[in-house]
């Protein structure tokens, strides 16, 4: 369901991501964009041949890769960290509903989501893990002289396969975002329509509004679980 901005008055909106979180998301997205574009040039033969300048492309790739931890650290440590820290906590834990969703591979009925869908939680954890592993393997590839030779081959092996996995996961992330304009607005404008939260993230809706998300209910939240 799509709702035009003008149709959603301020009282029908819920704040989903604050400014610092949006900046972090888009800085990360840009770095990943540069990394994937330069990776494609370094890795796909016809593109390498078309672009050439291997040293320059490699330099851009290495610099963007080494930059990855800094936006995350700034978001975590800066004075604007409150919402980010809270969201990281929410992303890190699976509650009963999330586990039920995961065990049924997404098929369970009546699963009630909190602020984040378990798929989003897995995506966040995967992205953090991927950054750590890509930084480690990329560093071995770049400073290979300081490591045993088999490590270089091993690191290349991991870096290549994980890069392909990351490309697939990011494609999935973008596909999900493209299919839901209201959810997308959470990351472009910071808020989502309250009615979206009630339908798609009922537990979060209840936390934020103090009302029950059950159809027809207007009173206090009913115990869930």
């Amino acid at each position: 369901m799509t709702t035009a901005r003008s149709e959603v008055p301020a009282r029908a909106r819920l704040l989903r991501f604050d400014g610092a979180e949006q900046v972090l998301h888009w800085v990360n997205a840009s770095l990943f964009g540069v990394l994937m574009a330069t990776a494609a040039v370094l890795y796909i033969g016809p593109l390498s041949a078309l672009v050439g300048r291997r040293e320059l492309v490699r330099y851009a790739h290495v610099v963007s890769g080494l930059a990855l931890p800094f936006p995350l650290l700034a978001a975590r440590l800066g004075p604007w960290r409150r919402a980010f820290v809270a969201d990281v906590r929410a992303l890190a834990r699976f509650d009963d509903d999330d586990r039920r969703w995961l065990r049924s591979l997404g098929r369970a009925k009546g699963v009630r989501m909190g602020k984040f869908h378990p798929g989003q939680k897995l995506n966040a954890a995967f992205t953090l893990g991927a950054i750590v592993v890509m930084l480690a393997t990329g560093s071995i590839m770049h400073w290979f002289r300081f490591f045993p030779v088999e490590w270089r081959t091993g690191a290349t092996f991991v870096h290549d396969w994980l890069a392909i996995t990351i490309a697939v996961v990011i494609a999935g992330h973008i596909k999900m975002a493209l299919s839901d304009a209201d959810a997308r607005r959470g990351m472009s404008q910071g808020w989502v329509p309250t009615i979206w939260a009630r339908r798609h993230r009922p537990k979060w809706y209840e936390e934020m509004t103090g009302k029950s998300a059950q159809p027809g209910a207007g009173g206090p939240p009913t115990p869930s679980g």
């Binding site: 890795y43 796909i44 033969g45 016809p46 390498s48 041949a49 078309l50 050439g52 300048r53 291997r54 040293e55 906590r89 992303l91 890190a92 834990r93 699976f94 509650d95 999330d98 586990r99 995961l102 939680k121 897995l122 966040a124 954890a125 995967f126 953090l128 893990g129 991927a130 750590v132 592993v133 480690a136 393997t137 071995i140 030779v149 088999e150 490590w151 270089r152 081959t153 091993g154 690191a155 290349t156 092996f157 991991v158 290549d160 396969w161 994980l162 392909i164």
Partner: protein
């Protein structure tokens, strides 16, 4: 905060898998390459070449890919020889061909198994010009204008060092160094100079090649140089 710390498990699991991959990935990728070689070598679509299994990576040290048509291609043999000779592609193809199926091993670790090469022995090409007594070796130049390599005369005369014009039964593509490249089977890939244009016989030890002045070994025997222990080809 209640709930299962799935996020931490995912991150730690990835770090563990990544570390295992760094330590044992070299063996795993070798096994994978050998197991999949029958499939990857028969893939006509090029789709499989997107996966990091037994694939060539195209390295060029200059700003763009250099190409030269078959008709315009020339191979010049000169320097410390009796008579400088220039070969066209047809001249090379008229010589007795050498065919071999051998691996290509890069010093960065990747290896492509069982590549079919066709060309002529560098020794035969040198014989047509007549190398003078007491020559040290050859300096090889690429028509990309930057890349150079060297071989001693003994190395250049080996039977598994060829001036290649076919790979996998097809003309060597521009990306792979065509129309004509060198293939030095027993040495790391950087010795197999692409876009070969000039073979200069040298009386005295030649200036080191492109990657050699950047720290790689000049005698680049596979498994016995650059601190590596790959299986020899």
């Amino acid at each position: 905060m209640e709930g299962t710390p799935v996020g931490r498990r995912v991150v730690l699991g990835m770090m563990g898998t990544g570390l295992a991959g760094i330590l044992f990935g070299s063996k795993a990728s070798d096994l994978l390459e050998r197991a999949l070689a029958p499939i990857t070598s028969r893939d006509g679509t090029g789709f499989l070449s997107l996966f990091p299994v037994g694939r060539f990576r195209i390295y060029t040290v200059t700003g763009r890919l250099h190409s030269r048509s078959d008709a315009d291609y020339r191979l010049n043999i000169g320097g410390f020889v009796d008579t400088p000779v220039t070969f066209t592609l047809d001249d090379l193809k008229a010589m007795p061909p050498v065919r071999m199926t051998k691996d290509f091993q890069c010093v960065t670790g990747w290896r492509v198994h069982d590549v079919k090469w066709t060309g002529v022995r560098l020794a035969d090409v040198l014989d047509q010009a007549g190398v003078k007594q007491g020559a040290w070796g050859v300096r090889l130049l690429s028509f990309d204008g930057s890349y150079t390599e060297t071989l001693t005369l003994d190395q250049a005369r080996r039977n598994d060092v060829i001036v290649a014009y076919e790979m996998e039964g097809k003309p060597v593509s521009a990306a792979h160094g065509g129309p004509v490249r060198l293939y030095v089977a027993p040495m790391y890939g950087y010795k197999s100079i692409k876009w070969l244009e000039t073979v200069e016989v040298s009386e005295t030890p030649a200036r080191a090649g492109y990657w050699e002045v950047r720290g790689y070994d000049t005698d680049a025997w596979i498994g016995k140089s650059n601190g590596r222990d790959d299986r020899p080809v």
